[in-house]
């Protein structure tokens, strides 16, 4: 058992206090973490800041699980923190701070060959809850609707449920995809597909965003568009490292950061 003893010893000595000083670990939403935050990080480093980043984007829920477990410095979330989550932090004696990262509109996208280009919010709800199953019911050519949604940990999944589906549950016919880009990809390849993605992902070839309640998906319509939301960073008060705080301040206030946010297709917060 010599090896296993050695192993235990190794494990025992692997102390938790050897975290790198200027490493920022960011975890959470795919909406933020797939494009925007990596590019912000790269731009931040390019601006001459000596830090390193670790980014994992598995869904907004993971932002809070990681913050709670102490395995992340910054949580990215595309939805507001839930009461039940706030309670968990309070229970552990921690207080959470909310930074507005950007604004986003969730685009309902269909294949560009689809005859449908406008839907009412009620129809959107019907389609995603599974009440409406055929394109002919919403003015398209007959064909079964293939619905693509995000995976359940995603903030977009939850936000869309609240904003676009009257808080009803998704129909069981929906397919769960790992990321925005994957939804766009499938919809682009399926003439009967429909899905939703963040504003930043709607300019892909092969898809088109539909008008929801007659409002076009354009940044200038953010006020009227029914499925719009804000994106957040979350940190723990008192536990945030100076490097992370500096980065967040930079990312949420400066013009260069705003440019990056704009380039990836979101609406800058400042």
């Amino acid at each position: 058992m010599k090896q296993s003893i050695a192993l235990f010893a190794a494990a025992a000595l692997a102390t938790g206090s050897v975290l790198a000083e200027d490493k920022i670990v960011i975890k959470g939403s795919d909406t933020l973490g797939a494009k925007m935050v990596p590019q912000l990080a790269e731009a931040y480093k390019a601006a001459g800041n000596e830090v390193s980043f670790e980014i994992a984007a598995e869904g907004s829920s993971t932002a809070f699980t990681n913050l709670l477990a102490g395995t992340g410095d910054i949580g990215m979330s595309s939805r507001n923190i839930k009461d039940s989550e706030v309670e968990k932090f309070t229970a552990d004696g921690m207080e959470i701070k909310d930074w507005t990262a950007a604004y986003d509109m969730i685009g309902v996208i269909v294949n560009e060959n689809s005859g449908v280009s406008t839907l009412t919010l009620e129809q959107v709800e019907g389609i995603f809850t599974g009440d409406i199953t055929d394109w002919s019911e919403v003015g398209g050519q007959a064909g079964p609707i293939s619905v693509y949604t995000r995976n359940t940990s995603s903030g977009t999944y939850k936000s869309f449920q609240e904003l676009g589906m009257n808080k009803r549950d998704y129909g069981s016919d929906t397919q769960k995809m790992a990321g925005n880009e994957q939804i766009a990809e499938e919809v682009a390849k399926n003439a009967n597909g429909i899905g939703y993605v963040g504003l930043a992902y709607t300019d892909k070839e092969g898809i088109k965003p539909v008008l929801v309640d007659g409002v076009e998906l354009k940044p200038k319509n953010a006020e009227e568009y029914p499925i719009a939301r804000s994106l957040h960073y979350y940190t723990i008060v008192g536990k945030i490292s100076p490097a992370a705080e500096k980065f967040l301040t930079w990312a949420t206030t400066t013009k260069e950061a705003g440019e990056v946010v704009d380039r990836v297709g979101f609406i800058p917060a400042n």
Partner: protein
């Protein structure tokens, strides 16, 4: 079998009669069916290889010296920026190059800029990560596997204990890899002990034991997502393969070697050390290559235990050192800091570029390039293990 009835009657009368025309035709036809099935499988394999080679090789190889795409192997994945300059030429640059380029060419107007995650740079990070994971895994698995094989082959006698061990090994071999992932997460990432300070403590009760005389705790809170946890998980998974392969190599050594040694008065252990292990070395080598082949391709066990989609530094870069501790303390914290880093890994990287980013002319080089390199690597290892097995089997004839 109705069709044979004619022949059967014929054959009854003339048992040694040559087979009829019809008989021979059916025979040929049916064996062609079998042959086609066989080559059908190979054709599928060839198609898959062909597709990946045709689309992946151009990414890796270059027409002029040094003939390979050096950048692809010396950089980690980055965001790819695609933009057009004034004169309408399109340029693709990894993000860090892009920032540099913008600094160097301040006057140039940039149009139509768009970005693609994970598609720029190269695959150094994932390659290094996979190598590290594999090494950790193989070292652990070989140590344990070899010892187990020695026990099974040299020491054990028939009995209940040995049956249980064999049964356990056999069943371990059949457990789905994702279940190993669950197990690794539960045991290594969330349970194994670490020494930590009170501020880092995340467990309580019996799982946090204060070490007397210090501020530190021995806490059963796990190592977190790191390469050590991933390596251990993979080691557990590959153990049956290693044990079987090592045992085979031990079995191949003639009994006479041991008998001769024992007859000369050597102890059991001396015998094993001097007359068995040296000759089993090639077999062990084969076992480890076989193990590496198995482990390098696995994704599910490292998904939750070690792998990370984006990491901009290699695992040994940026390790923090506590300046107050002495030389030994610094060494220790460096070493363990290194092993508790999470890593990128090739299979997980491929999963990311396959599932998270779309296919387009800009992302395809990264996607196919990674798959091509990874496949060639694994295939070479596999070929090496086959070669070693055949080579030593031929050579080691006593």
């Amino acid at each position: 079998m109705n069709e044979f009835s004619d022949n059967q009657i014929l054959n009854k009368e003339r048992p040694f009669a040559p087979q009829t025309q019809k008989r021979r035709q059916t025979d040929t036809a049916v064996s062609w069916v079998f042959r086609l099935a066989t080559y059908g499988i190979l054709a599928c394999a060839a198609y898959i290889f062909g597709d990946i080679i045709v689309k992946g090789a151009p990414v890796v190889f270059r027409a002029e010296a040094p003939f390979i795409n050096v950048e692809f192997f010396t950089r980690s994945p980055e965001t790819l920026v695609v933009f057009e300059t004034q004169d309408g030429t399109e340029r693709q640059l990894a993000f860090s190059d892009y920032s540099q380029w913008k600094k160097d060419n301040p006057g140039v107007e940039i149009a139509k800029e768009h970005t693609h995650s994970y598609s720029g740079g190269g695959i150094l990070g994932p390659l290094v990560g996979t190598a590290l994971l594999t090494i950790i895994c193989i070292v652990i698995a070989l140590l344990i596997g070899q010892a187990t094989a020695i026990f099974l082959n040299e020491y054990s006698s028939k009995g209940r204990f040995i049956n249980v061990i064999r049964l356990a090994i056999m069943n371990l071999a059949g457990v789905p890899s994702v279940v190993f992932g669950l197990f690794g997460l539960g045991l290594f990432c969330l349970f194994f002990p670490v020494i930590t300070t009170a501020s880092e403590l995340r467990v309580e009760g019996w799982r946090a034991i204060q070490l007397f005389g210090t501020e530190k705790y021995l806490a059963f809170q796990g190592w977190g997502t790191c390469m050590l946890a991933g390596g251990c998980t993979l080691a557990v998974m590959v153990l049956p393969v290693i044990i079987t392969a090592c045992e085979e190599s031990l079995k191949a050594i003639p009994m006479g070697f041991r008998e001769a040694s024992l007859a000369l008065g050597a102890t059991k252990w001396q015998t094993i050390r001097t007359s068995v292990l040296p000759y089993a070395f090639p077999g062990m080598l084969t076992a480890s290559v076989l193990g590496i082949t198995r482990v390098a391709g696995e994704t599910a066990p490292i998904m939750f235990t070690a792998a990370l989609a984006h990491k901009d530094k290699l695992p040994w870069q940026g390790l923090a050192v506590n300046p107050e501790s002495g030389f030994f303390g610094r060494m220790l914290s460096q070493v363990f800091g290194f092993f508790t880093e999470s890593v990128q890994a090739m299979p997980y990287h491929i999963y990311t570029v396959a599932a998270r980013i779309p296919q387009s002319e800009y992302t395809r080089p990264m996607q196919y390039g990674s798959v091509f390199v990874f496949m060639v690597l694994v295939m070479c290892l596999s070929a090496l293990s086959v070669f070693l097995r055949i080579h030593y089997r031929k050579k080691m004839k006593w």
